[in-house]
């Protein structure tokens, strides 16, 4: 109820739109009435056709903090109704109707002064990296000293979202350890053959349950459910594991 950033309907103008991966586009929006958003938030985009038909879909926000510049990274779903339009037809200068910021549960904010923040493990499947990238970037921009790690499962090196930004975060101070799992094709010289994530790999690449991290898992539903199951099996408290399921596989 007492939300610093209440959800509302906004009109956004597309400032820039460029390829992010072979199937995804990074879209930068100017939203004059935007109250800012926490990292991990999403917004709903509502499209209206000339006959009045409307389609609404949720997209995670890659940007966080105060300000009226909002960044999305939209992956095209093959049978989608909204994502193909956003990826192929949207142009700079177009206007979009947005509802947001949304997401009171799957968000991360820097700790208040005096709080002892827990370490944070981010686990991304495909385009599920978008809200987790927002969290990692918000963490780096804050003075929060908690340990952050990212485990990112992706099909091929070309499908990596925010590659440059993640590389910079990995080289930053403090550094963000980023572990990639390539499931279809790995980069040349990669020490492991492409394969889906396993429980053993998860254990090896993530903060242990004993550190009592907050864990955020985001991606397609089957990915999230399998990973969340392994986390609970490994001893993480269910209350420490936050999940967000995306449509698509």
């Amino acid at each position: 109820m007492s939300s610093r950033r209440p959800a509302a309907w906004h009109v956004a103008t597309v400032v820039d739109s460029r390829p992010e991966t072979p199937t995804a586009r990074r879209i930068e929006l100017d939203v004059p009435t935007w109250p800012g958003n926490d990292a991990g938030s999403h917004l709903d985009v509502r499209l209206t056709a000339p006959d009045g038909y409307q389609a609404t879909r949720s997209y995670s926000i890659a940007s966080a903090g105060d300000g009226t510049h909002v960044v999305l990274a939209v992956d095209e779903l093959p049978d989608g109704e909204v994502s193909p339009f956003l990826v192929h037809d949207l142009r700079a200068g177009d206007q979009l109707e947005l509802h947001g910021p949304l997401g009171a549960f799957f968000v991360w904010s820097p700790p208040a002064p005096g709080d002892i923040p827990p370490p944070v493990q981010l686990i991304a499947g495909g385009s599920g990296v978008v809200p987790l990238y927002a969290m990692a970037a918000a963490h780096a921009a804050s003075s929060d000293a908690a340990e952050f790690r990212l485990l990112y499962s992706v099909r091929t090196p070309e499908d990596v979202f925010f590659r440059e930004e993640l590389t910079a975060l990995a080289a930053g101070t403090p550094a963000l350890p980023v572990d990639f799992v390539y499931t279809r094709r790995a980069p040349a010289g990669w020490p492991a053959a492409p394969a889906r994530i396993t429980g053993d790999l998860l254990d090896a690449a993530t903060l242990p349950a004993a550190s009592e991290p907050l864990v955020y898992v985001c991606g397609p539903t089957p990915f999230v459910e399998v990973v969340a199951g392994w986390l609970i099996d490994a001893g993480h408290e269910p209350g420490n594991v936050r999940t967000e399921r995306f449509g698509g596989s």
Binding site: M1, S2, S3, P6, A7, H42, D44, G52, Y53, Q54, T56, S58, H99, G100, L102, G103, A104, F105, F106, T221, R242, T243, E244, R245, F246, G247, G248
Partner: protein, 85 residues
């Protein structure tokens, strides 16, 4: 046809309640278990969005977006929703 979680209800709930209730604690009328709305199992299709209890599968809430901007909201399975003042 998507099986998702209660995070996707945020927009609809904000339209109905005026605030994002996905972090709010909700009690299932059928089995009595409670948890954040975000933990509900959500079946979303063009027919509508059906939120079910993660423990017993009972229907908690339904949103239907009809034509001409009409929307229906039912909460047949939520006994009570905690609001943070």
């Amino acid at each position: 046809m998507e099986k998702l979680d209660g995070n996707v209800l945020a927009g609809h709930l904000a339209d109905v309640l005026g605030w994002d209730a996905t972090g709010a604690d909700a009690r299932c009328m059928h089995c009595g278990k409670h948890g954040a709305v975000a933990l509900a199992v959500v079946y979303a299709s063009a027919m509508g969005t059906v939120a079910r209890c993660a423990h017993c599968d009972s229907v908690l809430a339904v949103f239907v977006d009809g034509d001409h901007g009409r929307t229906w909201f039912g909460m047949p399975g939520i006994a009570a929703l905690e609001m943070t003042r």
